[in-house]
């Protein structure tokens, strides 16, 4: 394919240019002096750089407050699965929720984040609502079993963070879920 070859050539040139620039013998950047070719937008540079900086910082924040949490028995299970278009906790999920409720109720400083998820079908923001409904169902189950409100935060990722990237019922079944993520106990510093 001629197009494919063209792309490869462009990539090769880009790599060469990158190498030259990194080696310090690349051309001096003259904002606004160049032609109107794709990618050459001096204004975009600061946007890209700013965004990249934000992206780098976020990686550090993300895992800081997470902790392994309890591991014994059912507490090692951190996922509760749901039927299609349902936020009803069923089967083993009931026991998993009960085990975590018991642990949290007896460890007042322990904290969890409940992450609601859906399969990929339907509208994205509506799925955020459905994922939230699942997270809220687990939250209510925990509260009913004596967990303190301050121990729980919820988030819905909707269809945005599938556990299984497939596009069939077996993948969808794995994606309709709430994940229980343990956070650094209250009053303790986050991990460095």
């Amino acid at each position: 394919m001629a197009e494919q070859r063209g792309m490869n050539r462009i990539l090769a040139l880009a790599l060469l240019a990158l190498t030259l620039a990194l080696a310090g013998c690349g051309p001096k950047v003259k904002p606004g002096a160049g032609p109107a070719t794709p990618g050459e937008n001096p204004a975009a540079e600061s946007a890209g750089a700013g965004a990249n900086a934000a992206g780098a910082a976020e990686g550090a924040n993300a895992s800081q407050d997470e902790t392994a949490g309890p591991q014994g028995g059912l507490l090692a299970s951190r996922v509760i699965y749901f039927d299609f278009d349902s936020a009803v906790i069923k089967g083993e999920g009931v026991d998993v929720a009960a085990a975590h409720a018991k642990y949290l109720a007896s460890h007042a400083t322990a904290r969890v984040r409940l992450e609601g998820n859906t399969d990929e079908r339907g509208s994205r923001e509506y799925n955020i609502g459905l994922g939230d409904r699942r997270a809220q169902a687990v939250r209510r189950a925990l509260l009913l079993q004596g967990v303190n409100e301050g121990q729980i935060t919820t988030v819905s990722y909707g269809e945005e963070r599938p556990a299984d990237p497939g596009h069939d019922e077996s993948a969808w079944a794995k994606n309709r879920r709430v994940e229980i993520v343990y956070l650094t106990p209250a009053g303790q510093p986050a991990r460095p």
């Binding site: 990618g39 946007a47 890209g48 939230d132 409904r133 935060t153 988030v155």
Partner: protein
């Protein structure tokens, strides 16, 4: 299928310029953000035959950009025009006065476009003329001036005028789109917010994250994007100035912060908020005063707000009747919501055309989530797409075309369909999935 990859020859540009361009491109745009490939998937049966004669270049200031090639790409991509191949052109005029209509009628062209790029005082001017070969009439003669970096945009403006003069509707070629590119497999996915020209070229990176980015929305002046980012692992709504990258976190309340939509005056954002233990409802946030007004209060999921063009009401998705349907409510939150959709059991993600007459949405038809348009006056619904997982419809500012995302095999691409259902395009990334598109407003 016909691949319409615009040729980017840099033969006239000095080598260092090409290298500089590629260096910047490599820095700013990672592979997932590279220009999109466009394929025409459907067009009208009798496209209008036009000849777009190569414009007189202004070397080297024009950077070797083939302005007529960009115009041809735009017009053919609309599915409503067929361009005469250059090798069949009887002549290469650059002024209307030099066009011999009979010669062009002889090769079947109803219209001829000629033009010139000239360089003056560091700026570039594009002059073009449009001639009807059947009547000999000159339908347009216009000049666009600007910096060399705006030459591509000037070419799109030429396309906009030609489209309007021939079809009676303003073209939307000189506009931009935003979309989300996703690469990698769970749990190590990479999410990028990208802005590109409406033809998929000139793509650049707005935000890069290991956590989901979704629901980009353009401010009415085209300067800002609002979007949802989970970069803190919780939902946050941000607004970002596209030109500089400057951004602001405007909502990070407990639970859902989602579905931002700018009011037509650009002063407010409609949002979906959950609240601790609450359920999703629609709110309006005044961006200047930070004043928050609750619009809906219902135990159902209320989300995906969209302003009517007059700013006086909001459309939104709600499953208050059991399945998701679209409702309309006063933008002050007073009065009861009125249900708008009644066909099919699943209607979500409303978007309204700029003239306020048509509502685009995702509808479940048979076993497929598809893009449909409802005539708001008559209630008549037309399903325009045929996929299994089509979603996120967004109107072009001229209301003639919808941009949406579709699932294809393991990946996802963007597609367009005209509101009459006759023409369509597919925009594909070189790798990874692209989705959640938003078509920006007309430029000034």
């Amino acid at each position: 299928m016909q691949a319409l990859k615009f040729s980017r020859k840099s033969g006239r540009a000095p080598v260092w310029q090409a290298l500089l361009t590629l260096t910047l491109a490599a820095w700013l745009v990672r592979p997932a953000g590279a220009s999109l490939q466009i394929e025409i998937t459907s067009g009208v049966n009798d496209p209008i035959p036009v000849a777009i004669v190569p414009f007189t270049p202004a070397s080297p200031a024009d950077g070797g950009l083939d302005v007529a090639g960009v115009v041809q790409h735009d017009l053919e991509g609309s599915g409503r025009f067929r361009a005469l191949p250059r090798e069949r052109m009887p002549a290469r005029p650059t002024r209307a006065g030099d066009i011999v209509s009979a010669d062009w009628k002889g090769v079947g062209s109803d219209y001829v476009v000629v033009g010139r790029v000239t360089s003056e005082n560091g700026a570039l001017a594009v002059d073009f003329e449009l001639v009807n070969t059947l009547t000999g009439a000159r339908l347009a003669a216009q000049r666009f001036t600007g910096a060399a970096s705006a030459l591509r945009n000037a070419a799109h403006k030429v396309s906009d005028v030609i489209y309007q003069k021939i079809l009676g509707v303003r073209g939307a070629f000189a506009t931009r789109i935003a979309y989300v590119a996703v690469d990698g497999t769970p749990p190590s996915q990479r999410y990028q917010l990208i802005v590109a020209d409406a033809d998929g070229e000139n793509a650049h990176l707005i935000l890069d994250s290991r956590f989901p980015i979704m629901s980009p929305a353009w401010s009415p002046d085209g300067q800002w994007l609002a979007y949802v980012s989970f970069e803190s692992k919780l939902a946050g709504v941000y607004v970002q100035l596209v030109r500089t990258g400057e951004r602001r976190l405007v909502s990070a309340r407990a639970g859902i912060n989602g579905a931002p939509a700018w009011s037509p005056d650009g002063k407010k954002l409609a949002l979906t908020l959950g609240g601790s233990g609450g359920n999703p409802d629609i709110y309006v946030l005044d961006l200047l005063t930070q004043n928050l007004t609750r619009i809906t209060d219902d135990p159902a999921i209320d989300t995906e707000p969209e302003w009517a063009p007059d700013g006086r009401s909001l459309y939104f998705t709600s499953d208050r009747a059991g399945s998701p349907q679209i409702y309309q409510i006063s933008a002050s939150g007073s009065g009861r919501p009125r249900r708008i959709t009644f066909e099919n059991n699943y209607n979500a993600r409303p978007r309204v055309s700029a003239d306020g007459r048509e509502l685009a949405m995702v509808t479940l038809e048979g076993n497929g989530y598809r893009i449909a348009v409802q005539d708001l006056a008559s209630g008549a619904v037309r399903v325009l797409s045929h996929g299994r997982l089509d979603e996120s419809p967004s109107f072009a500012p001229n209301g003639a075309t919808l941009l949406y995302s579709q699932r294809e095999g393991a990946g996802g691409s963007l597609a367009t369909v005209s509101v009459d259902g006759l023409t369509g395009l597919r925009l594909k990334a070189q790798q990874g999935t692209i989705r959640d598109p938003a078509w920006g407003p007309f430029g000034t």
